[in-house]
């Protein structure tokens, strides 16, 4: 570990983090435009061409707004809460394998901040910490609606972590590894000659469970019970304004991008193009760095498709009731996840023999 390695790691972390944060302004714009499209209205169209500068205007507005602190609250936790929710969202990114390796300064650089051997558990573990920001934020707001939102969020996120984890167990069994990077590498090529060799064709039910649970984990509609505007004003962030509110907002979008990235990596081949192996692409373009660029673009477009799906579903489906939400997790998704694990195990034993 010499100085160059340290510098490269630091640079990698900064570049990837800054790149992923860009998902926030893009998502603000896309969300507003898609909402407008679905509700048959023009949407933002005043600031800049096609309203493209709307995110900038939003950011400026947030920066200059008053930053209220409610009376008789725990100021420390109130101030800390938004950052407690943003921090895990940023930390999770470290484990996502965005592309294979590039060659720079005569060194092979993997486009992933940290290649842990248990990166799947890392993502699940750190991802589950986002609930503290919501819990403390809702509690420290000294407001009934915020507290109810926070309690809902806690029970919802703890409940949905189980199906989320169970859905990934199937993928772990199929690939025989906890490392997200190795999982992506194993998804190269084609399956049976006509399908891409992606996880979804091995674990269709697992993907479905993961998709549904990810909506609940990120507090998005149809599972946004912690912030139902019709019942709880704005849920846990009712009392937040200015940049503190914006921080919660950023955390939500970064969690979304992480979940989209996880689905891409676990079930949709990560950086691989469908039907084409990396080796073939490398032969055509002839350069490792160009291949790496193609991989990054592929990864980003896959993540973008999932983010678009999130936005689309948010503006089309109605909200669940809270008991329905918990019933879905405990009586449908968890048994389904267990069945998925058992059936996968039996099928794998029949097809591959004992490990």
């Amino acid at each position: 570990m010499n100085a160059l390695d340290v510098a490269i790691s630091a640079l990698k972390a900064i570049v990837i983090l800054v790149a992923v944060i860009q998902v926030v302004p893009v998502m603000i714009y896309v969300e507003r435009k898609v909402a407008a499209l679905i509700q048959d209205r023009p949407g933002p169209n005043r600031v800049g061409p096609l309203g493209l500068l709307q995110p900038v205007a939003d950011a400026v507005k947030f920066l200059f707004k008053e930053d209220p602190i409610p009376l008789n609250t725990n100021r420390l936790l109130y101030t800390l809460a938004p950052f407690l929710s943003l921090l895990p969202a940023c930390l999770v990114i470290a484990a996502l394998p965005i592309a294979d390796k590039a060659v720079l300064f005569g060194k092979e650089i993997t486009i992933q901040i940290a290649d842990l051997d248990v990166s799947l558990i890392y993502v699940l573990a750190i991802g589950s910490l986002g609930v503290y920001g919501i819990l403390f934020g809702g509690w420290a707001s000294n407001n009934k609606f915020s507290l109810i939102g926070a309690l809902r969020s806690a029970s919802q996120m703890v409940s949905y972590e189980l199906p989320l984890g169970l859905a990934t167990v199937g993928a772990v069994m199929v690939y025989g590894t906890y490392s997200l990077r190795e999982m992506v590498v194993l998804q190269d090529g084609t399956l049976g000659g006509f399908l891409p060799n992606w996880g979804i064709f091995y674990q269709p039910l697992g993907f479905l469970i993961f998709l549904i649970s990810s909506f609940a984990e990120t507090n998005r509609l149809p599972f946004d019970l912690p912030e139902t505007e019709a019942e709880l004003v704005a849920g846990f962030h009712t009392e937040y304004g200015s940049m503190k509110f914006a921080t919660f907002f950023m955390a939500e979008y970064m969690n979304l991008s992480t979940m989209a990235g996880m689905m891409t990596v676990l079930f949709f081949g990560g950086w691989h193009l469908p039907w084409i192996t990396d080796q073939q692409v490398l032969d055509w373009v002839g350069s490792q760095n160009l291949l790496c660029l193609i991989q990054v673009v592929t990864y980003i477009s896959k993540v973008a498709v999932f983010l678009f799906l999130y936005v689309l579903i948010r503006w089309t489906l109605p909200r669940f009731r809270f008991d329905q939400l918990l019933h879905l997790a405990w009586t449908n998704l968890i048994p389904l996840g267990l069945i998925n694990v058992a059936v996968s195990a039996v099928l794998m034993y029949l097809m591959r023999g004992p490990a």
Binding site: D117, I121, L124, S128, L129, V131, Y132, W139, V158, E161
Partner: protein
């Protein structure tokens, strides 16, 4: 370098652990507990036990302390300040814990401190899971039965009373 980082995280763990015990506000105790578990997870990581470190964060910080915080907020005893214990009990407990700790430290240093490194084959996840499902299958199965009993027990505890006297 690694030892310095280890020392740093050890101190963080101890300070937050002390925070759990001395905080008046239960919310602060829970918050310190999260940080303490994080410190422990980083100590595991520095020892090279990545899996245990991640499980520590996933289960302790991500689930157990969330339950604590959940209950604290559900009961909402913000205003009920805890009376402190009798002075003699505090003194006795303090001396007792202190003596027991010294004794344990002595025992640990004598038994483990002297034993040299033999880290020829680092523990890997595959061997751990293989052992868990072969040699230690029975304890594992007992644990599953235990968990089943636990689920039933918690259901009974949390069940609303049939007379409708639930508050």
């Amino acid at each position: 370098m690694k030892e310095m980082i280890f020392a740093l995280f050890s101190i963080i763990t101890l300070l937050t652990g002390a925070g759990v015990v001395i905080s008046r506000n239960v919310i602060y105790s829970a918050f310190n507990l999260v940080l303490c578990f994080f410190g422990l997870a980083s100590l595991y990581l520095l020892w090279g036990a990545t899996f245990i470190s991640m499980v520590q964060i996933l289960i302790y910080a991500g689930a157990i302390v969330v339950l604590f915080v959940f209950v604290v907020m559900l009961l909402n005893f913000e205003h009920s300040s805890e009376r402190s214990q009798n002075f003699w009990i505090i003194l006795g407990s303090g001396i007792g814990s202190w003596v027991l700790s010294l004794f344990l430290l002595r025992v640990l240093s004598n038994t483990l401190g002297a034993s040299p490194y033999q880290s020829a084959a680092p523990t890997n996840l595959r061997t751990v899971s293989k052992l868990l499902f072969t040699q230690y299958l029975w304890p594992f199965e007992v644990l599953t039965i235990f968990m089943l009993a636990l689920i039933i027990g918690i259901y009974l505890l949390g069940r609303p009373e049939s007379e409708g006297t639930q508050s």
